[in-house]
């Protein structure tokens, strides 16, 4: 019955279609009769065991080629019916072993399905597919996982590193491990103190192993990678036509580590310049596969990004260090300048005092000294701000300080206005102006009596012009006919002239007032 070629009339065509289908299937298919004799095999099945159907006739398949792996299958007698060896329940994939005619054992998985006719089992369809050995498969998977992990770790590590030496060492180690090389080296170009250098790191060999040899030059073997950025992979570099062309060694120098398999991969920056090259060697032939080339190329790409980052970082660090040095020097110069200005003012003060001693009256002497000290105080304020703009309110306080103690100053002098910064030049001039106004108020104006008050108000206009008003009130009556003293001149002409501003002094019996307007007081250098 179980003969696929023998059937009802008109079925011949259908049978040949069926045969063709089976023959094209990639899995091996066996049809067994109840005695487990094979009555049909497709071509994949013949290829699997190496026997033809004729050669199997009269013998159970078990005897020739097929063995189940399960305990039950082993125990069963070879002549038992199919149900024992291929139980009815086994629609599931099972593991087994096929013995090929040439004596080789192949692990397989198979499914067996009983064929029923009128309630009886009349045979079994066996479908068999070769597997790689389980242990081998696990090993391959583990290897793959290890490679992926190393690649991933290397990538993450490189991304986090900015130190050049650490990067190149990590790259060399990862690439050597993953490529399966006996040893590897990373030759990379750096610029140190303006000089271009080629440095290298090693993995799998001590530094002494290469110390005696010159650096790779642009020879026929190295040149393509170092100069043109080309990958070279050779199963046996000694047989490569480019090998041994260059003097002096015409190949490897004596006592060089043995290299047969050779792989060199360039590390290229994003702008196309070549950072260097990763070079690997192994004493055996044919070690580096296309896969190792791909892995190393991937690492080289990661390395390139890391090296770019390291170079940028180093440049930034140098820039910062340079700037800090300049700033420190500048601070030193400013400090020295301040010191000299102070000493010069002290010397001028001493010269004037010794010159005028006994020749000028006490008031003149004091006026001079106060002016000099006012200049010095304004200067101190600017110094404290490192020659950057100073606060207007603070400048006014400085001018009042020698004449009023803090408590009475707060009551009698009112300062009212927004925070405004004054360039050093403006601060010095306005500081002198304030001093003249205060000194005048003490001698002739509102501060001559205990009741007098001074209101100083300022505001900034849209065009950055500073408007400041000085109003003295409730002081003793003012003697309106006063001369054109230095103080007044300094205010009216000096401020206006030096700062391009306008100053109006108004003398009234009720008290003196002064209006000052200065264009953009923060602007001057």
């Amino acid at each position: 019955m179980l003969n696929p070629t023998e059937n009802a009339p008109g079925c011949a065509t259908r049978n040949s279609v069926l045969m063709a289908l089976c023959d094209h299937a990639s899995e091996a298919l066996f049809l067994l009769d109840p005695q487990q004799h094979c009555v049909f095999m497709n071509s994949a099945a013949e290829a699997l065991i190496g026997f033809s159907l004729d050669e199997l006739r009269g013998r159970p398949l078990h005897d020739v080629a097929f063995h189940g792996v399960s305990e039950e299958a082993h125990r069963s007698s070879r002549s038992e019916p199919v149900e024992r060896d291929f139980p009815v329940s086994s629609g599931m994939a099972e593991r087994g072993v096929v013995l090929h005619r040439d004596g080789e054992l192949h692990p397989v998985t198979y499914t067996a399905r009983p064929v029923h006719e009128e309630g009886h089992v009349v045979g079994t369809v066996l479908e068999v597919r070769r597997t790689r050995g389980q242990g081998q498969a696990i090993e391959a998977l583990e290897e793959e996982t290890r490679i992926l992990e190393t690649l991933h770790r290397t990538g993450a590590m490189l991304a986090s590193k900015l130190d050049l030496e650490e990067i190149v060492q990590a790259v060399t180690e990862a690439a050597t491990t993953l490529s399966g090389a006996r040893f590897g080296a990373f030759f990379y170009n750096v610029i140190r103190d303006g000089k271009a250098l080629q440095l290298y790191t090693l993995c799998g060999a001590p530094r002494e192993a290469f110390a005696a040899f010159p650096q790779p030059r642009h020879t026929a073997v190295f040149g393509p990678t170092f100069a043109e950025g080309v990958v070279i992979r050779s199963d046996n570099i000694r047989r490569d036509p480019r090998y041994g062309l260059n003097a002096p060694y015409r190949g490897m120098p004596p006592r060089h580590l043995p290299v047969t398999s050779y792989l060199s991969v360039p590390v290229k920056a994003c702008n196309g310049t070549i950072h260097g090259a990763l070079i690997f060697g192994h004493e055996d032939a044919g070690v580096f596969t296309e896969r190792s080339e791909r892995i190393v190329t991937a690492i080289a790409a990661q390395a390139s990004v890391a090296l770019d980052n390291a170079a940028l970082f180093e440049a930034a660090q140098q820039e910062i260090a340079e700037r800090q040095k300049v700033e420190a020097h500048q601070k030193l110069l400013i400090e020295e300048l301040n010191h000299r200005v102070k000493n010069m003012l002290a010397t001028v003060q001493s010269i004037a005092k010794r010159t005028l001693r006994g020749r000028a009256d006490q008031i003149a002497m004091e006026t001079f000294q106060n002016r000099l000290l006012a200049l010095s105080q304004s200067h101190s304020l600017i110094m404290r701000e490192n020659w950057r703009p100073v606060d207007l309110r603070e400048l006014a306080h400085t001018a009042f300080a020698p004449f009023l103690d803090a408590v009475s100053g707060a009551e009698r002098v009112q300062l009212d206005g927004p925070d405004i910064r004054l360039a050093p030049k403006v601060a010095l001039a306005l500081g002198m102006g304030f001093h003249e106004l205060v000194a005048n108020a003490v001698r002739h104006g509102a501060l001559r009596s205990d009741q007098g008050r001074i209101e100083i108000r300022w505001r900034e206009m849209d065009d950055n012009t500073l408007h400041l008003s000085w109003v003295e009130q409730e002081g003793p009556p003012v003697d309106v006919v006063q001369g054109q003293g230095f103080g007044l001149q300094l205010l009216e002409k000096g401020l206006a002239h030096e700062l391009g501003g306008e100053v109006r002094v108004h003398l009234a019996r009720s008290g003196m007032s002064c209006e000052i307007s200065l264009p953009d007081p923060a602007k001057y250098l």
Partner: protein, 124 residues
């Protein structure tokens, strides 16, 4: 009145700039002090400290190619009150607790500081 309270106070004057030094001598004498020195160099000042009785010392910081910080240390060791008169705004951190007069200064500023320090001379 201030001059009275400073009368007879022996003040070591350390200042290397000639004109300023002469002026300071005048100022100290006007206040009734006795000027010890003046010294323009550290070794001069050190030998004055060893030889002369000193109530108080007034130190310029920058003495040409040396500074007066070691003098301040020596004076501190001897318990002699002292202050810096200097054009420098910034001084060594270890000496920032010392009183200081920023040059240029007025007689009033000088006498106030001397009076304040004279208190220290007589306190136990």
């Amino acid at each position: 009145m201030t001059a009275m309270s400073l009368r007879g106070l022996r003040v070591l004057l350390v200042e290397d700039e000639m004109i300023v030094c002469m002026d300071l001598e005048d100022m100290l004498r006007d206040l009734g002090c006795i000027v010890v020195g003046p010294a323009a160099r550290m070794h001069q000042a050190l030998s004055l400290i060893d030889r002369e009785p000193i109530d108080l010392a007034m130190l310029d910081i920058n003495l040409g190619c040396e500074t007066s910080y070691p003098l301040a240390e020596r004076l501190a060791m001897l318990g002699i009150p002292h202050f810096f008169s200097t054009g420098y705004a910034d001084i060594e951190p270890a000496f920032r607790d010392r009183p200081r007069l920023q040059k240029p200064f007025s007689e009033t500023q000088l006498s106030s500081l001397l009076i304040a320090l004279r208190g220290a001379v007589h306190s136990p």
